[in-house]
Amino acid sequence: MSGHVHRDDLGSRLGMWLFLVTEMVLLGGLFIGYSYMRHRYPAEFHHGGGELNATLGIINTIVLLTSSLTVVLAIVAVQRAEKKRAMAFLWTTLGLGCTFLVIKGFEWSAKFHHGLYPNAPHLATLPPGEQVFFGLYFTMTGLHGLHVIVGLSVLAVLLYWVATDRIRQDRYIHLENGGLYWHLVDVIWIFLLPLFYLAA
């Protein structure tokens, strides 16, 4: 065995971006579907948006934007060999991500209490346009929530790797790629806020 180490950080980042664009196409399809349905049922979407808690949506936007900031600051800290600071930023990101999920949990449970959940008897009594609105709401915010859970799991592993020096000043491509994923989760939410919570 020689000490020959092959590294291609540029290729690694390109691979991550290629994965991210497949995610954008997946979510993009749903956004296009949303546009058509909103065009078809404008009044029902307006009314459906009024049923959502805009304040919680805005708070969650601030939470996710801040978590995006702390991830990118963790990368800066690693680049500067400030390990403790990098770990603090990653812990903050994990905390903010969990906060997002808790708020989302409260929001969804309130909807469930009002008989608004997929295949609910009450939902079936609403006009077709509102059924479509809530169908898209649960599908898109649910898929986004799944991405938040995956992102948090990845970030937890990255935090462990920073703690054990597997990620360090001269080798932090995994943190960059994990950060890219988390930022995409943020970008998706940036679009979900006006489409659902501010629709009314």
């Binding site: 971006w17 196409v25 934007l65 800066v76 806020l193």
Partner: protein, 100 residues
């Protein structure tokens, strides 16, 4: 050459500091406040806010937080081709809807 460390070999530029990203974050919060304010001004203002401020916010995250500003043209092309493809699908769908 087997050690392509990316930023060092191909991007000799200095890494941006904490201040740059905190500035972008403040701008993102400001744009969010603008978006929410516009949504209270009526349907037309809300739609314009959605069409202008939302892509602007996403663009800032892509360009700064996701480091696209510091990448080569290939990364930008990959993203633009993807967004262009989605736009074509969007246009095709609505051109169909318009003539029904």
């Amino acid at each position: 050459m087997s050690d392509h460390s990316g930023h060092t070999a191909e991007h000799p530029v200095a890494h941006p500091g904490y201040g740059t990203f905190i500035g972008i974050w403040l701008l993102l919060l400001l744009l969010t406040a603008g978006l929410v304010s516009l949504s209270h001004l009526g349907q037309t203002a809300a739609v314009w806010g959605l069409l202008i401020l939302t892509p602007l916010k996403a663009g800032l995250v892509f360009y700064y937080f996701m480091h696209l500003k510091y990448e080569g043209p290939l990364f930008k092309i990959v993203l633009l081709v993807t967004l262009g493809t989605l736009l074509i699908f969007f246009a095709l769908l609505f051109s169909d809807v318009a003539f029904r």
